[in-house]
């Protein structure tokens, strides 16, 4: 079992060594050192190179023996597999307690590799060392400005902890982090998961003060029961969003029983997740939607949703998307309707979805959002149709008439207003403790739109469509309900 102090050495090292740093910019041993140095890691960085050549202007050491004792507690290993046992012994002698092994040539490489992998684990256990990988892409820890990986990107800091059986999905998740601005605390690729696997990292995240949500990709699971029990304990501590690869394989069962033939692998896994309180996503994209929701919104206290839209059919299709979910389009309470009547011209929808029908003046939207979100019969709000004016403003700003004809002033006004509407939504989330999800395709069509920027700058996730917001809120409420019914608060 890996210990908390070993995980601290991995994610919060006081100093680190890149073993096998290379002068060739195409090699992992170069890229890993580059990524560590380029992203502002604050601890001391050592690098070993067989020839002692400088790499990226950093003088290197011939081997680990030259590292001052106690100066580093993490080694990032890019050296050939055959040399790694000696390297681990030398590292342990210097007080290093965690190793990330990027080297290939282990369990993925036939019987010989598998034997080498077993020996590696045995040795690491003897040395009291945490070994992550082998054949992994790396580890990221934004509280330590640590980007120890052989691939991009480095994500913005945030509250999501990522663990994956596939390194490429770590990159995918972190690309979504960059796209959305909803950032990452830790991320690790488990590689061949020889000594520690995804569930070990989830357990670390459960107690990690930097992490509020765990996001994981898993394929094979060796000890199903153990995984379930551990996953449940983690889910009690923080939301876990899980994607399972290989979900479509049909578990055909020998057939004395009819229920057995209904219990396919995928259905069993699905039920296991629900029982454990883990949130299962079917795609990487959905997984990030859900993780970002848990990271940036409070859990809803009930299923009653109000949809606020500035205009158009958005509200209608959002209401449609809610059918078949756990959510409830709340019947507009009389006192709220009367309240809104005083703020809006008579053509507004007078029902939920609350369609303002373009009837807003300067301060209407913040006032409507406030009244709706504050109402005791509303548990969550989905806010649609923001950014229209600043989108027009962009067209004007990029057109031939700008800044003449009063365009400069009106464009700046709309930018300010759209930004204000979305930051108001975020302030209400804070003061009321209720989720308000903002959705517009401008999140991807024009991430620099003032409304989208207002959402992201206030630390929230801008949903690229209302149906994705509905789906995220559905999962949030299901998870909240799972917690409430088990007295988990």
């Amino acid at each position: 079992m890996a210990t908390a102090s070993q995980f601290r050495a991995l994610f919060q090292p006081r100093g680190l060594v890149v073993a096998g740093a290379s002068t060739h910019p195409g090699k992992f041993g170069f890229v890993a050192l580059h990524n560590i140095l380029a992203n502002g890691y604050g601890g001391e960085v050592f690098a070993t190179n067989r020839d002692g050549s400088d790499v990226l202007g950093l003088p290197t050491l011939r081997d680990l023996d030259a590292v001052p004792e106690g100066a580093a507690d993490l080694v990032f290993v890019c050296t050939p597999a055959a040399t790694n046992p000696d390297l681990l012994r030398a590292a342990a002698a210097k007080g290093i307690t965690a190793a990330f092994i990027a080297s290939a040539g282990y369990g993925e490489a036939g019987d010989e590799g598998l034997a080498r992998q077993r020996e590696l684990v045995t040795l690491a256990d003897q040395l009291g060392m945490l070994v992550v990988g082998p054949n992994g892409q790396g580890v990221v820890s934004t509280p330590a400005s640590l980007c120890a990986q052989i691939v991009a990107p480095y994500p913005p800091p945030g509250r999501i902890g990522i663990a994956s059986q596939s390194g490429n999905f770590v990159s995918s998740f972190m690309n979504y982090a960059r796209l959305s601005g909803v950032g990452v605390s830790r991320a690790v690729s488990a590689g061949n998961a020889a000594q520690v696997g995804v569930i070990d990292f989830l357990e670390f995240y459960a107690d990690d003060p930097a992490t509020d949500v765990a996001l994981a990709y898993v394929e094979g699971i060796e000890d199903g029961r153990g995984f379930f029990e551990r996953l449940r304990r983690v889910s009690e501590r923080l939301p876990v969003v899980l994607v399972k690869g290989g979900a479509s394989s049909l578990g055909s069962r020998a057939a004395a029983s009819h229920t057995g033939s209904l219990a396919t692998d995928d259905k069993v896994f699905d039920g296991m997740c629900r029982q454990a309180g883990a949130v299962r996503a079917t795609t990487i994209e959905e997984a990030y939607d859900l993780a970002a929701t848990f990271a940036t919104q409070p859990l809803p206290r009930g299923p009653r949703v109000a949809v606020v839209t500035t205009a158009g059919g958005w509200g209608v299709v959002t209401a449609d998307a809610m059918s078949g979910t756990s959510l409830e389009l709340v019947a507009l309470p009389d006192d709220l309707r009367a309240d809104l009547d005083t703020m809006l011209p008579p053509r507004w929808s007078r029902n939920n979805p609350i369609d303002l029908a373009g009837g807003e003046t300067k301060d209407t939207i913040p006032a409507v959002l406030d009244a709706v979100a504050r109402h005791p019969e509303v548990d969550a709000v989905i806010y649609l149709g923001m950014g229209i004016q600043s989108n027009q403003g962009r067209l004007e700003r990029e057109g031939p008439y700008y800044p003449e004809f009063g365009l400069e002033r009106i464009v700046a006004y709309h930018d300010r207003q759209d930004r204000r509407f979305t930051t108001t939504a975020a302030e209400l989330v804070e003061s009321l403790g209720k989720p308000i999800l903002a959705a517009t395709e401008l999140a991807v069509a024009d991430p620099r739109n003032a409304a989208v920027q207002g959402v992201t700058d206030s630390g929230r996730y801008c949903y690229p469509s209302s149906n994705r917001a509905v789906n995220a809120l559905d999962h949030a409420w299901r998870h909240a309900w799972w917690r409430m019914r088990r007295g988990l608060g």
């Binding site: 199903g224 229920t259 699905d270």
Partner: protein
């Protein structure tokens, strides 16, 4: 590795085992002769069903060992004679099981299934002949708590089937949860269970009742 041998219990033994864990079952009688079958039917009240019952008989429907809607003594006597005559040497000791003819517009399926990765599971699904094609099913790992059982019911896609339906009241969800909890307890108490089928689990007047049961054990 030698797989432990697996065998199915008779319908009567299956039901007896599961009844001890609160699985709701119709009153039934085993009859060794056509005359005894008629006596049993008179006690239960017509119409009844007759089934050939024995340890080695798993799939009665497929083998045509089921007679439905028997409305009087003559029909019961004839059904019992033909069922007993249909027994094959491999079936071992057989009896005719006489049970009330349950009528239900809604059929669920519930049971236990052992998963190679996660171990014993409780299963609830929409039943009937289309069950496998529809695959509206919800699963949890044994043991389950009441919250899990209630979640399983909520997870089914066909919620309309669980509400008031064609003049019948809504399914009693607490009783349905009791069935699932009973199955879970049965699996905990009897680790030799490999699978259990309540198929169909009929909804009669809103209450679940298992019209058939099949338990498979190992060792």
């Amino acid at each position: 590795m030698i797989e432990p041998s697996r065998r199915t219990l008779s319908e009567a033994a299956s039901k007896e085992l599961l009844a001890r864990f609160g699985v709701p079952l119709p009153v039934e009688h085993l009859a060794a002769t056509p005359d005894a079958a008629v006596d049993a039917a008179e006690q239960i009240g017509y119409p009844v069903v007759a089934k050939l019952c024995g340890d080695a008989i798993a799939h009665k429907t497929e083998r045509g060992l089921l007679r439905l809607g028997l409305a009087d003594a003559a029909a019961v006597g004839e059904a019992a004679r033909s069922l007993l005559a249909a027994a094959e040497p491999d079936d071992g000791d057989v009896d005719v099981l006489i049970a009330p003819m349950l009528r239900a517009t809604r059929e669920l399926i519930a049971g236990l299934a052992r998963d190679p990765q996660f171990g014993m599971t409780v299963v609830l699904g929409v039943g009937g002949v289309l069950a496998e094609a529809i695959a509206d099913v919800s699963i949890r790992l044994v043991p389950i708590e009441r919250e899990d059982a209630e979640d399983m019911i909520d997870d089914l896609g066909a919620q309309a089937l669980l509400g008031p339906f064609r003049g019948e009241p809504a399914v009693d969800r607490a009783r349905l949860a009791d069935v699932l909890l009973g199955l879970s307890r049965a699996a905990t108490v009897h680790p030799e269970l490999v699978s259990a089928d309540l198929n169909p689990l009929m909804i009669v007047g809103g209450d679940p009742i298992a019209a058939d049961a099949l338990v498979e054990v190992e060792g």
